[in-house]
């Protein structure tokens, strides 16, 4: 049977359709705002202003985006290998131990630019180690990775509470957190980058891990589309049977992909711990691992898409916080609804408007559509 829909030009596929989805999500969100008795246009203005209106707001948006890039990349890498890593939350949380261990050990001895690489390695290793267990169980024992990674999120949460309350907390302190790091474990802010454009970030926590996130996005792109390992992961992700046929070891790809995924999720811990709080607190991940799933979904598992989606979610976080502050009727929960709508329309209902758009394109210019040959058995 032939595909009923022809192909779209790339820019429509990757630009126009997500834009339409987003627009519909915001229209529905606007209706919700209307229902609580606020003006949706005004709310939208506050949101955009809150996210991008000043140097400080923009820096906050990018600070959140940094976190989401890491977790989004983590989900995407696993996804390319056909694995659904729901455990980014737990992997990032546990990886905090690695970051904290490096920081607490070296913050008085080394400058930040030496502590940072060590912390990067530590976060990735610990995150990967936490992802290894579900990966091994899936590869060798057939336990489904979705179930095990979800369970490992709870285990991670419990372990971290135990460690922070009973082990890591400095003696005599009331707060379940590490001591404050010294200067050697505090990442520099990116204020200078903003000052070039004449903007001021003031207290916003945007730091060099943002640059690391962008770099890792490039590395992930290289890995997926330019290396033998990425080729094997994609083959396995699209068709495990074809991978078997091509001599690609299922267990090896599963485990390696999950290690990389866990490592990327783990790096997320750098941003809040070293870049912002300068100590490890209880629940510092606060759902970023789950937002990463939405980010990867919306960014179509492509690093460029993930950066864009991460900025969008960062903007919703930051702008939403401003909105909740400015409009008392719009609570923080409303922002969660809004993000839910974005995920719903951009992720779950991704293909809802595609047939219509394709019909419009086909009637406008048949030649721009590419030539999908008739295919399939016994046509």
């Amino acid at each position: 049977m032939s595909t009923p829909f022809a192909k779209l030009p790339r820019w429509a596929d990757y630009g126009l359709i997500p834009l339409i989805n987003l627009l519909v999500a915001f229209i529905v969100a606007g209706i919700v705002v209307l229902l609580v008795g606020e003006n949706p246009l005004k709310a939208a203005a506050v949101l955009v202003e809150g996210a991008f209106g000043s140097g400080q707001n923009l820096a906050y948006t990018l600070y959140y985006a940094t976190t989401f890039i890491f977790t989004g990349l983590a989900v995407a890498v696993a996804f390319h290998a056909g694995l659904f890593n729901i455990g980014g939350e737990g992997q990032a949380y546990i990886a905090g131990i690695g970051v904290a261990a490096v920081c607490l050990t070296f913050d008085g001895i080394l400058p930040w630019w030496l502590t940072f690489p060590l912390a990067i390695v530590a976060s990735a290793v610990v995150g990967a180690a936490w992802a290894f267990i579900p990966a091994y169980l899936q590869a060798r024992r057939g336990s489904h990775i979705v179930i095990t990674t979800i369970m490992f999120n709870y285990i991670a949460a419990s372990v971290m509470v135990y460690l922070l309350v009973n082990v890591i907390k400095p003696a005599g302190s009331m707060a379940p957190q590490t001591r404050d790091f010294l200067e050697g474990a505090q990442l520099p802010k990116l204020g200078w980058l903003f000052e070039v454009f004449g903007l001021s970030v003031r207290s916003a926590p945007l730091n060099v891990s943002f640059l690391l996130a962008l770099f890792m996005a490039w590395v992930v792109w290289l890995l997926i589309w330019r290396t033998k390992l990425g080729f094997e992961m994609r083959t396995f992700g699209f068709s495990p049977k074809a991978a078997r046929y091509a001599g690609i070891g299922e267990a090896r790809v599963t485990i390696v992909a999950m290690l990389i995924s866990g490592g990327l999720a783990g790096m997320m811990a750098l941003n809040p711990i070293m870049g912002d709080q300068h100590r490890m607190q209880l629940d510092f991940v606060s759902g970023a691992g789950f937002v990463g799933i939405a980010v990867a979904l919306m960014g179509r598992s492509h690093p460029a898409g993930i950066i864009a989606a991460a900025v969008l979610f960062g903007a919703l976080y930051q702008g939403g916080a401003e909105l909740a502050f400015e409009m008392p009727n719009v609570s923080r929960d409303m922002i969660v609804i809004m993000m839910g709508l974005v995920i719903l329309f951009a992720g779950a209902l991704e293909h809802m408007f595609r047939p219509t758009v394709q019909t419009i394109f086909a009637s406008l210019s048949p030649r721009s559509m590419g030539v999908p040959a008739p295919k399939g058995e016994g046509a």
Binding site: F238, G247, I248
Partner: protein, 510 residues
């Protein structure tokens, strides 16, 4: 002049820029068997899908029984008296025959009443058309031929006057196909109209009254079957003269390249599919394995090529063992010169979402010429892919196009080019021309003969008996997991057909 059962007038249907049906006019007389023939992608299935309500025509009219009828869903088609037997059966495997027959036509909320009503109706149909099936048998326990009969019963139960069959004989033994044809003739004698879609010219000649030929979305000709020939139809289908028989010289078999001894393989459910099979393939010969689909051929070649673990037995490649019962690695076997064109190119041989070039190195992607350290050597891969596209005339000649957008024949050429161009000593080929158009079949057959003439050992598995007979130097017939006979290429179709149906074996057992 008999009345027209179906009349299609000026049917057009496009998918994006592809015009699957162009100004199709078709008239099928009541009480006849009408064949529709054409290559893959000629638009046969699209046309029938329009008639059965799966697709809507962009323009044109459908008349059923002389009245203009609008068919939007299969339910409309059923109401208009049209029934369809699909190539892939639409049966609930773990339901009984009778449950499948009444499915969607239960008629009342309680099943018991409708089942007993259906039972007497089935008995009537059995009497009238010789459609014998045990109504209480579970579908998955029935052979394919009987499953197909259930599909026909389903259509008749819903009171159809017009029966459409899409490639009905692809899964049948010659004997089962003959039985099907007898049933179709009986249906015709009862005044039913039959539309038969196929790409097998012989079937058209054997059973139809009239035949329409489709090519590239258009209806190119309609002929009375008695007034046409196989050659004319083939030419109409392809648009040029076709060589139906492969030209090949004498085989010059040399030393044994591949030797299989007492191989036993189970499928994923634990059923023994290959039961102590032994065979040898020599350099410079094509050994064909004939058999009805599902008699262990697939599992046999999967085990030899390291994709499926065998239970017992030994396989020697160039005299050295392949660890078929342990950890045979298809990648390592490729290094040792064993190439494999799998039966299922959509899920095994290709990754449809990949670019053509990526598929042209699948399985060989770890060869040094395609790598630069841990990175893929993109330039080398694309240069290599373009070379193969040229040599194998793969169309469209675009190594960056997604593989899913190539036609079946061109997809198969991508796989063949990849496996043959690595110059393997042994080539295992499963269903090389399934879903492949006539023009490409000719090309693929020539390549396989060329492999043989270059002194390679070729093991060919196909359910197309014609293909086996015209390519093989020796023919092994598999039935129920065993090799039940070996014949030369001169063996008659009837003889092989009996072996494929397991007849000789039963006689020997008596």
């Amino acid at each position: 002049m008999a009345e027209a059962a179906i009349q299609l007038i000026g049917i057009n249907k496009s998918f994006g820029a592809v015009r699957a049906n162009r100004d199709i006019n078709l008239e099928v007389e009541r009480g006849t068997i009408h064949g529709i023939i054409g290559e893959n992608g000629a638009g046969k299935s699209t046309l029938m899908s329009i008639l059965y309500g799966f697709y809507q025509a962009d323009s044109g009219e459908v008349h059923v029984g002389g009245k203009a009828t609008s068919i939007h869903t299969p339910n409309d088609a059923i109401a208009a008296g049209i029934g369809m037997v699909h190539q892939h059966f639409m049966l609930v495997e773990n339901f009984t025959v009778i449950e499948n027959v009444i499915l969607g036509a239960e008629g009342e909320p309680l099943l018991n009443a409708s089942i007993s009503k259906a039972r007497s109706e089935l008995q009537r149909l059995e009497r009238e058309y010789g459609l014998e099936v045990d109504p209480d048998a579970i579908i998955e326990e029935l052979p394919v031929g009987l499953q197909q009969r259930v599909e026909i019963l389903k259509a008749l139960f819903r009171g159809c006057d017009i029966l459409i069959l899409d490639e009905p004989t692809g899964v049948l033994t010659p004997a089962e196909a003959d039985h099907l044809f007898r049933i179709l003739k009986m249906l015709k004698d009862e005044g039913k109209t039959v539309v038969l879609i196929t790409h097998k010219l012989r079937e058209i000649m054997a059973i139809t009254d009239t035949v329409s030929v489709m090519r590239q979305g258009t209806m190119v000709a309609t002929r009375k079957t008695s007034e046409t020939t196989v050659e004319e139809l083939a030419e109409l289908m392809v648009g040029r003269r076709v060589l139906l028989r492969v030209e090949k010289g004498e085989a010059k078999p040399a030393g044994v390249k591949l030797s299989v001894k007492d191989l036993t393989v189970k499928d994923s459910r634990g059923v023994v599919m290959v039961d102590g099979v032994s065979l040898e393939v020599r350099a410079g010969e094509i050994v064909g394995i004939a058999g009805v689909a599902g008699n262990g051929q697939s599992e046999l070649i999967e085990a030899i090529s390291g994709i499926r673990k065998a239970e017992a037995g030994t396989v020697l490649l160039d005299g050295k063992p392949i660890d078929v019962t342990g950890h045979a690695d298809p990648g390592e076997l490729r290094d040792r010169g064993l190439a494999h064109v799998p039966e299922d190119r959509h899920h095994v041989g290709l990754v449809l979402a990949f670019e053509e070039a990526e598929n042209s190195v699948l399985g060989y992607h770890d060869k040094p010429q395609y790598l630069r350290g841990p990175f893929l050597n993109i330039e080398a891969i694309h240069a290599d892919a373009r070379e193969k596209i040229e040599k194998y005339d793969i169309r469209p000649a675009n190594d960056r196009l997604k593989t899913a957008n190539f036609s079946g024949g061109n997809q198969q050429k991508i796989v063949l080019a990849r496996e043959i161009e690595q110059d393997p000593g042994v080539l295992i080929v499963g269903q090389p021309t399934r879903g492949v158009d006539v023009g490409a079949i000719e090309f693929i057959h020539k390549r396989l003969i060329a492999m043989r003439d270059a002194g390679k050992a070729v093991l060919l598995v196909s359910v197309e008996l014609d293909e086996i007979r015209s390519l093989s130097d020796r023919i092994l017939v598999m039935f129920a997991g065993r090799v039940v006979g070996e014949r030369g290429p001169e063996a008659s179709e009837g003889e092989l057909g009996l072996l494929m149906a397991g007849v000789e074996r039963q006689e020997a057992a008596e």
